[in-house]
């Protein structure tokens, strides 16, 4: 209801030609603006991450600035533990939490198509698992009806169960949908934050820097290399490592699938591939890495300091982590059990989970990587411009 009112106010503001900084802020956005005003007068956290240097280039925080800053925040927790104004102080500054709330809102607001944005806001974990289970069940039933669910002499060849073209016909649309939806969402975000971040186009040094920051997950290093926070004020590198295992594991699995597709179409070599083939190698290493990474993230997420981030988004986080975990688990199980009668059932489960993963990609936690990358890129562009705020020597 509150959100609706905010939207209505925005619409009126827009109609009155009141663009950009003048747009009415939602409650979480107003909270970020309030806290940034305090941080801007304090600045002790300047060394931790990109948010603070970006903040010092501004004296006021409009909607687009807030969206940009919120997605620049990596939720590392450093500025909460270091904050002299953190609750119970009456200023109640909790930057990671305020930023997380706005981030969650941007995922919803920028989702394409808009109607689907609200889909995975609640019950992310249950929804994701239910979707995976539902899809798997559907496939299991289809196999059972065909009489191919158990046993049978497949010799590891699952195309006998699901012909290659059927798989492509099922997965390609889902995958393309995910790419399209994410692309359109982030395009709108980019268009909104670009004018607020100098408006200038991306240069190659900026792109190189942002790429490095993304690939190294620079802003989970705490600014000093000792890492970020999880359950308390101690620094830990475990979040960064678990993220890296997850991200690179995912990328390796993705590379394995892409390579397999090339093998299939370009060379006519069809799956299954076995070791020591390249797709299998990539897939195996990727799968194990993904398994370890997501298990780590899951554990860290449950132990996370309650004041970090936005508790309401936990189900979404956990849902995404769970889908990734079960994708790699079922994938690895499928490979290990390739000669057993369980192959068909495992295949159905694996395909169900992968399908659910891709279907939920644009409406879940995956979005954070895309929006954060966009923000880092805008930051890399903006920081190369002279600071518009010309403070005196003091």
């Amino acid at each position: 209801m509150q959100q609706l009112e905010a939207l209505a106010r925005d619409a009126v503001a827009l109609a009155n030609g009141n663009m950009g900084a003048g747009l009415v802020l939602s409650a979480p956005e107003a909270e970020v603006a309030r806290q940034m005003q305090i941080c801007n007068a304090c600045r002790y956290c300047e060394g931790f991450c990109a948010v603070f240097p970006a903040m010092t280039r501004r004296l006021e925080f409009g909607k687009a600035d807030i969206h940009f800053l919120a997605n620049l925040c990596h939720n590392c927790g450093a500025c909460l533990h270091a904050c002299q104004y953190a609750p119970p102080h009456e200023f109640a500054v909790n930057v990671p939490q305020a930023m997380a709330q706005v981030r969650g809102q941007t995922y919803v607001d920028y989702a394409w198509p808009p109607a689907l944005g609200r889909l995975y806001q609640r019950n992310g974990l249950t929804l994701s698992l239910a979707l995976a289970a539902g899809l798997a069940l559907f496939l299991l039933l289809a196999l059972a009806l065909n009489g191919t669910l158990w046993g049978g002499d497949l010799r590891g060849n699952f195309y006998r169960l699901f012909p290659h073209n059927l798989l492509v016909g099922m997965f390609a649309p889902v995958f393309l949908w995910a790419v399209l939806a994410l692309g359109l969402g982030v395009r709108r975000f980019w268009r909104d934050v670009t004018p607020a971040t100098s408006g200038l186009p991306v240069t190659s040094p900026a792109a190189a820097e942002a790429t490095g920051d993304v690939l190294r997950l620079k802003y989970l290093d705490g600014g000093h290399g000792d890492g970020c926070h999880n359950e308390d004020d101690a620094y830990t590198l475990s979040r960064r490592r678990a993220h890296h295992l997850t991200f690179y594991g995912f990328m390796l699995c993705f590379a394995a699938t892409s390579l397999a597709t090339v093998y299939h179409y370009a060379f006519g070599w069809s799956a299954p591939y076995d070791l020591p083939s390249l797709p299998k190698l990539l897939g195996a290493v990727g799968g194990v890495s993904l398994l370890l990474g997501t298990a780590g993230l899951f554990r860290l997420n449950l132990r996370r300091h309650p004041q970090h981030g936005d508790a309401a988004q936990k189900p979404m986080d956990l849902g995404f982590i769970a889908l990734l975990f079960f994708t790699s688990l079922s994938g690895l199980a499928l490979w290990l059990a390739r000669g057993t009668p369980a192959l068909a059932a495992l295949l159905a489960v694996h395909l169900g989970v992968v399908m659910a993963l891709f279907a939920t990609l644009p409406y879940g936690k995956f979005a954070h990587g895309i929006f954060r990358t966009a923000s880092l890129l805008r930051h890399a562009v903006e920081k190369r411009q002279p600071n518009p705020v010309g403070l005196g020597a003091d």
Binding site: A41, Y44, Q84, F91, H224, L391, D394
Partner: protein, 469 residues
Amino acid sequence: MTVDVLVIGGGNAALCAALMAREAGASVLLLEAAPREWRGGNSAHTRNLRCMHDAPQDVLTGAYPEEEFWQDLLKVTGGQTDEALARLTIRASSHCRDWMRRHGVHFQPSLSGTLHLSRTNAFFMGGGKALVNAYYRSAEKLGVQVRYSAPVDRLELRDGRFVAAFVGSERITAKACVLAAGGFESNREWLREAWGQNARGEWPSDNFAIRGTRFNQGVLLRQLLKAGADTIGDPTQAHMVAIDARAPLYDGGICTRIDCVSLGVVVNREGRRFYDEGEDFWPKRYAIWGRLVAQQPGQVAYSVIDAKAAGRFMPPVFPGTRADTLPELAQKLGLDVPAFMQTMNGYNAACRVGTFDHTLLDDCHTEQLSPAKTHWARPVDKGPFHGYALKPGVTFTYLGLKTGETAAVSFGGVPSANLFVAGEMMAGNVLGQGYTAGVGMSIGTAFGRIAGVQSAQAAMKSGVHHAAA
């Protein structure tokens, strides 16, 4: 069970002492008056440490040799400093950073807007609270016992020796003790007593805000004064700055400062100017305006700027009162409009604008105006205008315990064998008045570390002594 060393306090000085005593092999118990979420005292509000260095070093640029540091101290204190202790502090400041790093403190290049401090001051990454957190983690890892919500309300002393401390009715004994419980700035009654009543019948300190912790009540300082400990400094002396009048009563910290004083004019409740706003740069100016405002009626003043000042000073935490014309601003601030306009018109007419440059003592000044504005004087005439109400904010008090190079508390000139003091409780030995940024942490670090070592030694000695007896 008796510990070797009892540390009373929970800020920088206390933690340095606890860590050093523990590293020297003593068992250590630290009692912090505040609950865990408010731990760290004023130290949690700091951001840097003044450091001597002869050549560029990690986060420090240029050189800041001993002599220059000493001259700076001499200047701000007007000579009220013990040279031996000051030099000891200065030298200690040059080599404490590696030790600090070993206990988890991170430094960073100086902050935007404070670039002129990067030569003299090392900034803590994340500020003092991050430093305090690091020290507590390290202390706990080393086995220092820490108790929160444990305000010590009195000490048991015998012949100048520490015997025990009381937290309520609980009696805690130790072989040696370090006092690092800060000043008495949060004790409103004591401030009232020290500042007294002025000619207008006001109790000025009633309108002071305390920039730091509410837990520095000076309970032990007071008890030791009564017990005949040697003291230094004057109870009316305190570091006081002008802060936003909307600042909270306690813990407003750094963000409530108003940094635009030199860019405009400052008037009192009667709409009159009372001091040269362009006298000097921060931090000198910063440290005098608290006292200036404290002397004005109602302990309030208003910093007024025009559109030319926008974006040229550290952004204030609260939005200013805004108006398109000066009379409108006066009205919104609750000032007498004709009196205020007379001041403003007089000031604007007296401005002789040369080349404005906020980064140096420029040639923009007033002529035939009292008080003059000697630099950065430009007419305040371009709307929109902003006004900020100011009130005095106490940073810390100067009255403390007299000590020497061993950080021992002394009674009638005789140093105690097992009672030591560090930090704000003795800073007056080095800093009898005035202030220069970052020196509070230098003193606390130097003397906290000394007190830690000395107390550990005293405890070990007394252990042998007891065994022999």
